[in-house]
C-alpha cells in the first residue's frame, strides 16, 4: 500500500500508467462485456422490430426471447461489473436470495391477479 501521506494526483505519474490497461487485464474484459451487452440490447430491439421471427408480438417465443436476453444482461452486469465473479460467494447468495424471493412472491401475486391471462 502506498505511503499514506503521499496520495493525490502529484504522486502518481500518469505516464507510467498509460499502458495500464495491459497491466490490468480486467479492463479489457470489462470492455468486452460492454460490447456483449450492447449486442444483446441490439438483439432485443431487433426482436421487437421483427417479432414475426419469434412467432409474433406477444407470443410465447417472443416473450421467451426477450426474457432470456434480459436475464443474460442482468447476470452479466452482476457477475462482471459488480464483481460477483471475484468476490466472496456470500454476496451472490444474499443478493440472489432477495431477487429470487421477489420473483417468487410477485409472480405468484400476478398469477392470482390473472395478469398473464389478460392477453
Amino acid at each position: 500500500m502506498a505511503n499514506p501521506t503521499h496520495y493525490g494526483e502529484d504522486s502518481v505519474s500518469t505516464a507510467v500508467l498509460d499502458g495500464a490497461e495491459d497491466a490490468y487485464p480486467r479492463n479489457r474484459l470489462y470492455v468486452q462485456i460492454a460490447i456483449v451487452l450492447a449486442v444483446l440490447t441490439a438483439l432485443e430491439v431487433m426482436v421487437h422490430s421483427f417479432p414475426g421471427v419469434f412467432g409474433g408480438m406477444g407470443s410465447p417465443g417472443y416473450v421467451a426471447a426477450l426474457l432470456i436476453t434480459m436475464f443474460a444482461k442482468f447476470w452479466a452486469v452482476g457477475y462482471f461489473f459488480m464483481h460477483l465473479k471475484w468476490d466472496n460467494k456470500v454476496l451472490t447468495r444474499l443478493f440472489y436470495t432477495g431477487f429470487i424471493l421477489a420473483v417468487f412472491v410477485y409472480v405468484a401475486l400476478m398469477l392470482m391477479m390473472n395478469v398473464f391471462s389478460q392477453g
Binding site: 499514506p4 436470495t97 432477495g98 412472491v105 392470482m112 391477479m113
Partner: protein, 672 residues
C-alpha cells in the same frame, strides 16, 4: 517507508483530525442526559428502544382500554363510531410497529453484540439513526391525534377504504408517512444487525455456536430486510393516491383494491414471524438456564427458525381467503399454512423436552417462558383452524381472529419479552427485579390475559364482528364482553405492577450488593462480563469453543455424565476493576439531526410544501456532514492506540492487538 511530520493516518484509514464542518464540536460526553442524544453505544440505544417502546405500549394500552370500556355493555356511548375506528386502528398500529417490533430491536441491539462477543454493532451511527428515525416515526404517527385525528382504516388499511373518498381526514396520511419513516428505521437497523452477526463474531464463534436468540435475531432481521420494502412499495402507491391523485386504488379508473391486500400481506405475514422470533429466541436461551440442561435439539431449534423464515413468505394469502382469490389459490395457501405449523410445533416440542428431566427453578422469567409456551400453543392451534379455508370463511373478521392473534402476539411475543426483561434486567441495570413482585406480576398478567382474550374465542364463534363499535343486547355477547373488559383492566394493572417493580427494586437495590456478573448461573457469554455491562463490553474478547461456552467454563462432566463444577464464577467472569483502554466509536450528532428531518418532510407533505424543503435540507445536510465525519473522533481516546507513534500504514504492529482485537476500528463508512 518514511516517518513524516504530517498527522498520522489512523489504521482504519480515516481522515486526520478535523472539526466537523466547523459547526459543532464533536460531542464527547459519555455520561449525563446529553450523552443519550449523541450516543452510538449499542447498549444505550437498546435501552432507549426499550424505554420508548414501553412508552408507546402505555399509549397503545390506553387505546385498548378505551376499546374495552366502549364494549363493556351493549350500545356503549364512550366513543362514537369515528373515534372508535381511530382508536382500534391506532391501537393495532402502535402495538405492532411501535411496541413489539422495537422491543425486539431493543433486545437485538443490547444482547446480540454481547452474545457474539462484539464491541459494538457494525455501524454504530446507523444504529443511532435507526433508533431516532423510529422515535421520529412514532411521534409523527401519534401527532395525528392533535392534528385532525388518527388513522381510521384498520391497521391493514385496506383499499378503497383508505382512499380520500372514504377517509377524508389526514389520519391515514399520518399513518402512511409515519410507517414509511419507521420503515426506514427498520431497514437500516436490519442491514446493520445482519452485518454485525455475519461479520463481527468473537474468535471461534461459528454460526452454529451462536446462542439461539442471536440466530432468531438474524432470521427476523432478514425477514425485515425483505418484507419492509414490499410494504414501502404499497405505501408509495397509497401516498400517490392520497396526496397526488394517482389512480392506483381508484376503482373508477380500474384500480384494484386486491393489489393492496396482496402487497400488504406479502409484507404482513413475514412481519408476524419477525415479531415472534425474537421472543422465541429469548425463551430458548432462558429455559435451559432454569432447567439446568442444554437446549434440547439446538440444531432443530435453529433450523426450524430458518424454515419459519422461508415458509413465512409462502402463506400470505391465507389472510385473504374471503377476497375471491379463486379455489386453486385458496387450496395452495391453505396447505402451505398447515405446513408452517410443523416448524413451530418443533419448537414447542424442543422447549418441552428441554424442561423434561431438568431441575426446574420457577423464577419469574421462567414462569413467563412457560406462559409463552402454553399461550402460544393455544394461539397456534387456533391459527391452524384458520388454515382450514371453509372454517376460516366463517371466522374472518370476527373476534375469533382477534383472540388468535392476541394469543400469539401478547401470549407469545410479549410474554417472551417479559421473560427477557426479568432475566436480563440485572445485566442491563445492575440490580435484580424483585422476585415476589415478579411472580405476582406473572400471575396477574396470566389471569388478566386469559380473561381478556379467552372470551373472544367464544364471541367470535357466536358471530361478533371485530371493529364494530357497538352491539345490541340479546345476542349473547354481553357476558363475554364484560369478562373481557375486566380482564383488560387486570392486564393493565399487571403492567402497572411491572413498572412499580422497576422502581421498587431500584430503591431497594441501593442497600444490596451488586448481583455480580452471573446471578442466574447462566450459560451464554454475555454473563461473563460485569453487571451492568461496562461500556467496552468484553475486555479481553473471549475465544469461544462451543455452544453455551460460558457454562462449560464453569461445569464439566464426570464419566457417568454427571455435572461437576470445575471453576468458580469469579474465576471465569471478567472484572470491571483495573484499566481498560478500549477504543470505542465516538458519539455523533448527525444521526439525530438526520432523523429529525424526516417527520418535518412528512408534515410538509400533509400541510405545506415549504416544510418539506426544510426537512429535506436538514436530513440531506446531516447525511453529508455524517459522511464527512470520521467514525472515530481522532482527538478522543487514542492515548493507548497500539499504533500510536511510529508505524506507518501497511506496517501493522500486531503485538499489542489484545486490547483492540475485536476491532474498535472496524467501522468503515458509507458515503451516501
Amino acid at each position: 517507508m518514511t516517518v513524516t511530520d504530517a498527522p498520522l493516518e489512523l489504521t482504519s484509514g480515516d481522515e486526520p483530525p478535523r472539526r466537523t464542518l466547523g459547526v459543532f464540536a464533536r460531542p464527547t460526553a459519555s455520561t449525563g442526559w446529553r450523552s443519550w442524544f449523541t450516543s452510538v453505544d449499542h447498549k444505550k440505544i437498546g435501552v432507549m428502544y426499550g424505554a420508548t417502546a414501553l412508552f408507546f405500549f402505555i399509549i397503545g394500552g390506553v387505546e385498548a382500554l378505551l376499546i374495552r370500556a366502549q364494549l363493556w355493555a351493549p350500545r356503549g356511548t364512550l366513543l362514537n363510531a369515528d373515534q372508535y375506528n381511530q382508536v382500534f386502528t391506532m391501537h393495532g398500529t402502535t402495538m405492532i410497529f411501535l411496541v413489539v417490533m422495537p422491543i425486539g430491536a431493543a433486545f437485538a441491539n443490547y444482547l446480540m453484540p454481547l452474545q457474539i462477543g462484539a464491541r459494538d454493532v457494525a455501524f454504530p451511527r446507523i444504529n443511532a439513526f435507526s433508533f431516532w428515525a423510529f422515535l421520529a416515526g412514532g411521534i409523527f404517527l401519534n401527532s395525528s391525534w392533535f392534528l385532525g385525528g388518527g388513522a381510521d382504516g384498520g391497521w391493514f388499511m385496506y383499499a378503497p377504504n383508505s382512499t380520500v373518498t372514504f377517509s377524508p381526514s389526514n389520519g391515514i396520511d399520518f399513518w402512511n408517512i409515519g410507517l414509511l419513516i419507521t420503515g426506514i428505521a427498520s431497514l437500516t437497523g436490519a442491514v446493520n444487525l445482519i452485518v454485525t452477526v455475519l461479520n463481527m463474531r468473537a474468535p471461534g464463534m461459528t454460526l452454529m455456536k451462536m446462542p439461539v436468540f442471536t440466530w432468531m435475531t438474524l432470521v427476523s432481521q432478514f425477514l425485515l430486510l425483505f418484507a419492509i420494502p414490499v410494504l414501502t412499495s404499497a405505501q408509495f402507491l397509497l401516498l400517490f393516491d392520497r396526496n397526488f391523485d394517482a389512480a392506483f386504488f381508484d376503482v373508477a379508473k380500474g384500480g384494484q383494491p386486491l393489489l393492496w391486500e396482496h402487497l400488504f400481506w406479502i409484507f404482513g405475514h413475514p412481519e408476524v414471524y419477525l415479531m415472534i422470533l425474537p421472543a422465541f429466541g429469548l425463551v430458548s436461551d432462558i429455559l435451559p438456564v432454569f432447567s439446568r440442561k442444554p437446549i434440547f435439539g439446538y440444531t432443530f431449534i435453529v433450523f426450524s427458525g430458518v424454515a419459519i423464515g422461508f415458509m413465512g413468505w409462502g402463506v400470505w394469502a391465507h389472510h385473504m381467503f374471503v377476497s375471491g382469490i379463486g379455489p386453486v389459490s385458496v387450496l395452495v395457501f391453505s396447505l402451505a399454512t398447515m405446513f408452517i405449523a410443523v416448524p413451530t410445533g418443533v419448537k414447542i416440542l424442543n422447549w418441552t423436552a428441554t424442561m423434561v428431566g431438568g431441575k426446574i427453578k420457577l423464577t419469574a422469567p421462567m414462569l413467563f417462558c412457560i406462559g409463552l409456551i402454553t399461550m402460544f400453543t393455544i394461539g397456534g392451534l387456533s391459527g391452524v383452524t384458520h388454515s382450514v379455508a371453509p372454517a376460516d370463511t366463517q371466522q374472518t373478521d370476527t373476534y375469533y381472529i382477534v383472540a388468535h392473534f392476541h394469543y400469539v402476539l401478547f401470549g407469545g411475543a410479549f410474554f417472551g419479552f417479559m421473560a427477557g426483561f426479568y432475566f436480563y434486567w440485572p445485566k442491563v441495570f445492575g440490580y435484580l427485579l424483585n422476585e415476589k413482585l415478579g411472580k405476582a406480576n406473572f400471575w396477574l398478567m396470566f389471569v388478566g390475559f386469559n380473561l381478556t382474550f379467552g372470551p373472544m374465542h367464544v364471541l367470535g364463534l357466536q358471530g361478533m364482528s371485530r371493529r364494530i363499535y357497538t352491539y345490541d343486547a340479546g345476542y349473547g355477547f354481553e357476558f363475554w364482553n364484560r369478562l373481557a373488559t375486566i380482564g383488560a383492566f387486570l392486564l393493565a394493572s399487571s403492567i402497572a405492577l411491572f413498572i412499580f417493580n422497576i422502581f421498587y427494586s431500584k430503591s431497594k437495590a441501593k442497600n444490596l450488593p451488586n448481583p455480580g456478573p452471573d446471578p442466574w448461573d447462566a450459560r451464554t457469554i454475555e454473563w461473563m462480563i460485569p453487571s451492568p455491562t461496562p461500556v467496552y463490553n468484553f475486555d479481553p474478547v473471549p475465544t469461544v469453543e462451543r455452544l453455551d461456552d460460558f457454562w462449560y467454563r464453569k461445569y464439566g462432566e464426570t464419566e457417568d455424565g454427571r455435572l461437576v463444577r470445575i471453576a468458580s464464577t469469579e474465576e471465569v467472569t471478567q472484572s470491571a476493576e483495573g484499566e481498560h483502554n478500549v477504543h470505542l466509536p465516538s458519539p455523533s450528532y448527525w444521526p439525530l439531526v438526520a432523523a429529525i428531518g424526516l417527520p418535518i418532510i412528512g408534515w410538509g407533505l400533509i400541510f405545506t410544501w415549504w416544510l418539506c424543503l426544510i426537512g429535506g435540507l436538514l436530513t440531506a445536510g446531516a447525511l453529508y456532514a455524517w459522511a464527512l465525519e470520521p467514525p472515530d473522533d481522532p482527538e478522543a481516546g487514542h492515548d493507548h492506540h497500539p499504533h500510536e507513534g511510529s508505524a506507518p500504514e501497511g506496517e501493522v504492529a500486531v503485538s499489542d492487538a489484545e486490547t483492540d482485537e475485536a476491532g474498535a476500528d472496524r467501522e468503515v463508512e458509507t458515503v451516501g
